[in-house]
C-alpha cells in the first residue's frame, strides 16, 4: 500500500514491528495461547519483520471465485459487499505487480503443445483451476521493495515501531494518534488516515487492546472484533487417484515450469455443484504418491540388484506388507505402462469453513508481552458441517472421475472415520475484522473502513467475510490496491 503512494504529494509512514530480518525477540511478541483446535505455534504463524508474511509464503496465487462473493443460503453470514467483477481490475493490477503471466488463471494459457491438458469432466461439473506460483525474485516483498521504499522521498519506514494502541477522540469518531512502543521509549504518530495491516491475528488484537476510550475495544461496539477467525482446513493425502486412460495425465496439476511462468492446477467443483449439493468451496491438489510401501520396495529391489542387504531390512519388509496396496499399484503401473503411463497421485484437500462467530481471537487475561500488553488467545473452531462438506466434495470428485472415465479415486481415511483425521490449518488468518455494510454484522464497511470511525481502515485477510479455497495473498494485494485508490480519492 505504501508503494501505491510513492511519488505523490502525500507522506506515508510505514510502521513495522520488527526489523529487516527474522528475530526471536520480535517474534516473541506473537506468543499466546491456543485454546481451540490444535494449531501451529503462534510465534511461527506470522512474521514480524519488513516484508511481513511474504517472507515465508508458498507464493501460490489465485483469485477468489465469483461464488465466494455471493450470498449463499446454505452458508450463514456469506456474501461480500463487493462483487468479484468489482475486484477484477485490482486483480489485474495485482498480477502485474507480481509479474504473473498475462492471463494467469486461464487453463488454456498453460497447455504445452497438446500435452499435460486439463482433464475433461462430463458436464463440466469439476473444473481445473490454475494456481500460479510467483517467481522467487518477485515474492519476497521486503527484499524486493526495500530499495524502492528507502529511495522514496515521501515514504518513511520505521522499524521496531510497535503500535500498542490506537487512540480515538472522546466521541470515538476518528483516530487521534497511535501509541508506539519501542525498546528505547514510547512515541506517538498522528496522520490523516490510518491503515491497520498487521495480519488476521494482530489486527483484531490491536483493536481489542485499544480500550482507553471505547472500553470493549476500538470498533468493537457489537462484539465482532476477533470473531469469525477462519483458516483453510487442509487434509493431506485424503485420497489417491489411479488413472485408467492416457488422457488422465496429471501433468497439468503437478507444479511445473512453463514459458508463462510456474503453475500448478487443482480440481474444484463448479458453482452449480456447490449450489445443488450445498457445499463449501474446496480444492484438491495432486502430488506424486509415494507411499511408504513403495519406497521400501524400491529399497529392497535396489539392495537385491546390488546384492547388498539394505539398512533397516525388517522395517522395509514390514512397510511393504503393511502397504501392499500401494506396492501393487506402482507395480501394476510398471507392468502395464502402455495403459497406465502414470502412477497414482495423492490428493490433498483444502477447504473453506463456514463463518463461525465462536471461532475467535481474544486477549489473555493474565499474560502480557514485554510492552505490558495483553497477549493473544486463539480459539480456532470449525464444525462437523465443515468436515462433512469436505467429505461430500470428495465423493463428488470420486463419482465424476469415474463417470468421466478418467480413473479411480481411493479414499485413504481409515473406515471413513473423519473424526480421527489430522485436520491442519494453514497460515491463512481470515475473517477477524470482517467486511459488512451493517455495523452489527461486520467490523469494516465495503471500503474497509472501521464502522463509525472516519479515518481508520483495515487491510489484509482479516476483512474477508468468507474465504473460498484460494490462498488469500492475491486477494489481499488486490484489496490493498483498491483501498489505496479509495484513500487517494479521499485525500484529493
Amino acid at each position: 500500500m505504501a508503494r501505491e503512494f510513492a511519488a505523490t504529494s502525500h507522506r506515508v509512514a510505514l510502521l513495522e514491528s520488527g526489523g529487516l530480518q527474522w528475530e526471536e525477540r520480535s517474534q516473541a511478541l506473537n506468543e499466546g495461547k491456543i485454546i481451540g483446535r490444535p494449531y501451529y505455534a503462534l510465534t511461527q504463524a506470522w512474521l514480524r519483520y519488513f516484508g511481513g508474511t511474504t517472507n515465508h509464503w508458498t507464493a501460490y496465487v489465485r483469485p477468489l471465485d465469483p461464488i465466494d462473493f455471493e450470498e449463499r443460503p446454505w452458508v450463514p453470514q456469506s456474501g461480500w459487499p463487493i462483487t468479484r467483477e468489482g475486484l477484477d481490475s485490482f486483480y489485474t493490477r495485482a498480477a502485474q505487480f507480481l509479474k504473473l503471466a498475462e492471463t494467469p488463471f486461464d487453463p488454456t494459457a498453460w497447455i504445452d503443445a497438446g500435452k499435460r491438458l486439463p482433464w475433461e469432466f462430463e458436464g463440466d461439473r469439476v473444473k481445473s483451476d490454475v494456481i500460479q506460483i510467483v517467481a522467487p525474485e518477485n515474492r519476497l516483498l521486503g527484499i524486493r521493495l526495500r530499495q524502492e521504499l528507502e529511495a522514496s522521498e515521501n515514504i518513511d519506514t520505521y522499524l521496531y515501531a510497535n503500535v500498542v494502541e490506537i487512540v480515538p477522540d472522546k466521541a470515538v469518531k476518528e483516530v487521534r494518534h497511535l501509541a508506539i512502543a519501542t525498546d528505547n521509549g514510547n512515541h506517538q504518530v498522528t496522520a490523516r488516515y490510518y491503515v491497520l495491516a498487521a495480519g488476521g491475528i494482530e489486527n483484531p488484537r490491536l483493536l481489542l487492546l485499544s480500550t482507553s476510550v471505547q472500553t470493549e475495544g476500538l470498533g468493537n461496539g457489537y462484539d465482532l472484533v476477533g470473531r469469525y477467525f477462519s483458516n483453510h482446513i487442509e487434509v493431506q493425502r485424503i485420497a489417491t487417484f489411479s488413472p485408467s486412460t492416457s488422457s488422465a495425465d496429471p501433468g497439468f496439476y503437478l507444479p511445473r515450469e512453463h514459458a508463462n511462468g510456474t503453475m500448478r492446477g487443482c480440481l474444484a467443483l463448479d458453482s452449480r455443484s456447490q449450489k445443488e449439493s450445498k457445499l463449501l468451496n474446496a480444492r484438491f491438489i495432486m502430488n506424486p504418491h509415494k507411499g511408504e510401501g513403495w519406497m521400501s520396495m524400491v529399497k529392497l529391489l535396489q539392495g537385491a540388484s546390488r546384492r547388498r542387504v539394505p539398512e533397516g531390512l525388517e522395517r522395509h519388509i514390514a512397510n511393504v506388507i503393511a502397504d501392499i496396496d500401494d506396492v501393487a499399484a506402482h507395480a501394476f503401473a510398471y507392468v502395464r505402462p502402455e495403459r497406465f503411463r502414470h502412477r497414482p497421485v495423492a490428493l490433498s484437500a483444502c477447504a473453506e469453513q463456514i463463518p463461525n462467530a465462536e471461532s475467535r481471537v481474544l486477549l489473555d487475561d493474565q499474560e502480557r508481552d514485554r510492552f505490558d500488553r495483553r497477549r493473544v488467545v486463539l480459539d480456532w473452531r470449525f464444525t462437523d458441517e465443515d468436515v462433512a462438506s469436505i467429505r461430500q466434495s470428495l465423493d463428488h470428485l470420486v463419482r465424476h472421475c469415474s463417470a468421466s472415465g478418467l480413473g479411480r479415486i481411493r479414499e485413504l481415511v481409515p473406515n471413513e472415520d473423519y473424526s480421527a483425521v489430522d485436520f491442519r490449518g494453514s497460515y491463512h488468518h481470515m475473517g477477524t475484522t470482517r467486511m459488512h455494510p451493517d455495523a452489527r454484522q461486520g467490523v469494516v464497511d465495503a471500503n474497509c473502513r472501521v464502522h463509525g470511525i472516519s479515518n481508520l481502515f483495515v487491510a489484509g485477510s482479516s476483512v474477508f467475510p468468507t474465504y473460498g479455497h484460494a490462498n488469500p495473498t492475491f486477494t489481499i494485494i488486490a484489496l490493498a490496491m483498491r483501498l489505496s485508490d479509495h484513500l487517494r480519492g479521499q485525500l484529493q
Binding site: 485408467s244 486412460t245 472415465g405
Partner: protein
Amino acid sequence: MSTPFSIDRRSAMRLLASIGLAGSTRPQEILAGISRSVKDPGFDTVNGFFSNLESASYLGAAYLRIRPEEADFRHLCQALGIPRSSEGPAGKVPGGRLAESITQKHRADFRNARVLKLAGWSLSYTELRLSALVYLGDADAEAESKDS
C-alpha cells in the same frame, strides 16, 4: 426385470471381509483396470472388461455370498443388458457394442451415486455384477471340466 439394487453396510462389510480373505488378491488390481474410456480399443466379452480375471472372480464370489439371489447367469445378463450367449459363459458373450453399453452403465452408476464403497474404493453396481458373471463363468467352466 432386475431386482432393486441395494447393499446395506453390514453386507458391505461382509463383502469386504470376503475379499480380504481371498489370499493375496486385493480389489486394487481389479479397480485399476475397470474404468476404461469408451474411446479405448474396447472389449467384446465381459471378461475383457477386467484386467485381472482372478481378482474379478474373487470379487464376484464375495458379492454373490451377500447377494445369493443374484447367482443366476441369466438374471445378471438381463440386469446388465447383456445378450445371453447360447455358447455359455461370460467370456464368450458377443457384441461389439458391449464395451460401450457396459461402460455407459458403469459410468451412469457413478453419475447417479449407485456405488458401493469398499476399503476406500467406490465400485459401481455394474462392475459388481460383472464380477459375479466372471465368477459364475469360472464356476461353469470348472463344472464342465469335471463332467468331461
